[in-house]
Symmetry: C2
Subunit: 509 residues, 2 copies
């Protein structure tokens, strides 16, 4: 334990200097600019990315970043202050955004199975396939199904019409297709008026989800959809995906039904094919999700199946989660016995719980984040309410459990309106472990990960965030993934090369 | 330094038990409910009011409070989630609100001179006084002036009309009066549409302020206005007021102009008269404010005057502040030299700076909170952005500098829409020193302090806040006031008696 005495001296000075400056500053009449500078730097160093050591090239690149971010702030319509539906056209024109699109962002760790792909692909490609039927519901939504014969009429829905026949009859198929697109996303011209409350927007969200269902659970479409999703995320410079997946039964044209094991194998096969053609893409893993509407005994059964899947597909299966609106669902603690069973039996089933996607404080649901940690969750989905809970926040940090921040989702689902008020701003100011993700980009009229990176970097992280912030966010998405330590190292080294190329290619002129 | 050994043992156990429970809980498969309970209690104890020791009566009273708060949360229209203009009728009908009105709330430490009194008093009383003229501006606002003769026409305003004559001519004086009321507040039926941005709402805010100006700077009205303000706050069970006051020149009917010293004396006289008639009212002090639109040399002159006022009116003068919109004004650091001068010369001029009333992060203005602290501020007005600055937040706590939280003001001026997202929720969860105040209640269509207490207690503090929270908030308003230690003790003991009576009178049946 022999310490280098000169090192000790330096350390003592490093500790004492700010203290002395502080006392001097607070006692003297005039504030000491050195103390001020010290405090500002200290604060900066605590922020996400504040301790990242930057290369010469990164420092140069940062000059460009700074300039572009200031440009965003100087317009009177600051996109993160607006609803995403109104901000999107502005973001699309932004130079900073196109830079963020090119940026290697690492992984997207919180994305749902059926909100991966731009819905226009569903309409323009999938609904044009043969045997596709549509019906129009009483609540002016749509349902789709693929069938060899005229399907039996569903309750609260018109007679099923073969789309081929319908399209031949209508004057303007573009109008029809656009109306389908409107049904499959939440996009609307005036979201504040269309969605006056969380209840209304969640209802619409679930409605859109059901509308997608009949298309994407058709077995061949299911595979194509996932392939297309990987393509779109890869094109957005995302190299890895962790998918919250319901693993539904899928149906064949002949009426055959495939079970969860088929679905899992489908993911595996499609992924293999995609990586074969895109060797730069690192991979994808699946977090099996059940709806929190079930009861404890139903959950027990599902968990048994989850463990079987985990055993059969250890490479692609990452773990388990519960989904659906937290505010109206059962709190996590209600399920605690069932959720403890795998570990009690020495079986491994990592958890990745959605928790804290709520504005209410002090309710049972607001306790979900603590309970997720007590149930040994690997990450917290959203954790929007985490900042209301200093003890839980500290526990999440001690345990190295990252928060999956999904800015656009939180805004569209009305947890927060102006994204500068997003609580992740506080988490980032403290350097809390977190990743940025996009939840259901297709439903929000977004795509990939770049829009959420834009909102996080420009709206949430503030003017002082920099290239180090972006770097740490990207690295976090690998560090806090479900990959093995060895895979993480491999992914990081691939990412590092992409990153260096990106920086060099985008140095200011 | 001889410690009681049994006490030490207890202490060690108190520290070890949660640690052991924690390790046990995190290692075991099933989460330990005792550890969970411990963490929940720990979090609760850190919250504002979490360590207040409650009497038997207070515990009983809390049963009622809990019930009433749950009732507020169970409606589908949760008032704190809505804009105050829409929430107000709901709040007015709420039982919890009428309880909060009766509650002795201590002091209101952040209220501006000309937004104290319900504007209907200005219209129904003041504009009916003789010699009151009105003109209508090109931007459809109004100006008022008292004059013995026809005043000279102002630019961008119609010819001045004697209100007595005008009222005799119009069919419906109620309509006319209501149009005046609309001009003097920000209230509007659809605030989201009327005020699409902070720029628009601030413009309207300043417009309303100017409309009030001609009425309240008429010397006799000035005194009556302050008296009426004290009356309204006293009726709202506020016993002490710290007024941010511009100390403007006032004008007499004969054209005479009174200077700042007259204004200060007027405050003193009116206060004396009011306290004479309401011996339960503890008093009021004045924080002299200048607009941040001035430059450094103008500030130097004003500070000299402030010091003179401080010397001449030590009892009623509390200190100095800068007002006006921060985002478009000069940052505090620009004024740091001028603001350091009093202390450099050994002169006492306490500061009470508005700082952090902004949504932007990392700008120069966003630095105002740190700079206010470095300039030795006694409190921070708003500190809305404080949670973005962990270092500054820690400094504010160490220095015992309380944040003046004004929920309705922050919502109406569009810093935040849903008050559950107000950053004070984080400050309260950490037990940060803070007080609740109402900023400009008259302009926001509110009055006194109870509406802001309602928003803070129901919307910001969450379901787990309780009678201890209310008690600590009220006590804070005296503890963090500018009163002397002896005055604080006196005020606290008066408040304590009022409080005990309030609790006993409102025990559940
Ligand atoms: Zn999700
Ligand atoms: Zn103010």
């Amino acid at each position: 334990m022999s310490a280098n005495p000169s090192k000790v001296t330096i350390k003592a000075t490093a500790l004492l200097l700010p203290l002395l400056l502080g006392i001097a500053a607070l006692c003297s009449a005039v504030p000491d600019p050195r103390y001020r500078e010290y405090l500002i730097k200290k604060e900066r160093s605590q922020q996400t990315g504040g301790r990242v050591v930057l290369s010469e090239a990164e420092l140069q690149f940062n000059v460009l970043l700074d300039k572009l971010k200031l440009q965003e702030m100087e317009t009177s319509d600051f996109p993160p202050a607006m609803h995403f539906f109104k901000a999107k056209p502005l973001i699309d024109r932004s130079k900073l955004f196109s830079l963020l699109q090119k940026m290697p962002k690492g992984g997207a760790l919180h994305v749902h199975d059926f909100a991966l792909v731009d819905v226009s692909w569903l309409v323009k490609n999938v609904t044009y396939r043969p045997h596709c039927y549509v019906c129009f519901t009483d609540s002016s939504s749509v349902r789709f199904v693929f069938s060899l014969h005229q399907p039996k009429t569903s309750p609260q829905c018109s007679k099923w019409m073969l789309l081929e026949t319908l399209r031949a009859k209508v004057d303007n198929t573009t109008d029809l297709d656009n109306s389908f697109i409107r049904n499959l996303t939440l996009y609307t011209y005036d979201p504040e008026v269309a969605y006056p409350s969380q209840d209304v927007v969640w209802k619409r969200f679930e409605e859109a989800f059901i509308a997608v269902w009949g298309l994407v659970t058709h077995a061949p479409v299911f595979k194509d959809y996932f392939y297309e999703g990987l393509k779109q995320f890869n094109a957005d410079n995302v190299m890895y995906l962790e998918l919250r997946a319901l693993l539904p039964q899928t149906y064949e044209l002949d009426g055959n039904i495939n079970n969860r094991f088929w679905t899992m194998r489908a993911y595996q096969e499609v992924l293999k094919e995609f990586v074969g053609k895109h060797p730069d893409f690192f991979g994808s893993r699946v977090i099996f999700t059940a709806h929190r509407g079930i009861n404890a005994s139903e959950l027990t059964d599902i968990l048994k199946e989850a463990i079987k899947l985990q055993e059969e597909f250890p490479e692609i299966m990452a773990g388990f989660d519960l989904v659906g609106r937290e505010d109206t669902g059962r709190p996590l603690w209600y399920f605690s016995k069932a959720l403890s069973q795998p570990a009690e039996h020495g079986l491994s089933l990592p958890y990745f719980f959605h928790a804290g996607e709520t504005d209410f404080q002090g309710t049972d649901v607001d306790q979900n984040m603590l309970d997720a940690l007590l149930l040994n969750t690997s990450r917290i989905g959203h954790g929007f309410a985490l900042v209301h809970h200093p003890t839980t926040k500290a526990l999440s940090r001690q345990m190295g459990v990252a928060v999956e921040v999904c800015p656009i989702s939180n805004q569209v689902l009305k947890l927060v309106s102006d994204l500068r008020n997003h609580p992740a701003a506080m988490l980032m100011s403290e350097g809390h472990p977190l990743v940025i993700s996009s939840d259901d980009p297709a439903l929000f009229g977004a795509s990939g990960l770049s829009y959420d990176f834009y909102e996080a970097f420009v709206g949430i992280a503030g003017l002082k965030s920099d290239v180090g912030t972006l770097k740490e966010l990207a690295v976090n998405s690998i560090r806090y993934s479900s990959l093995s330590p060895q895979q993480k190292e491999e992914a990081l080294s691939i990412w590092q090369k992409k990153w260096e190329r990106f920086v060099v290619e985008n140095l200011p002129q």
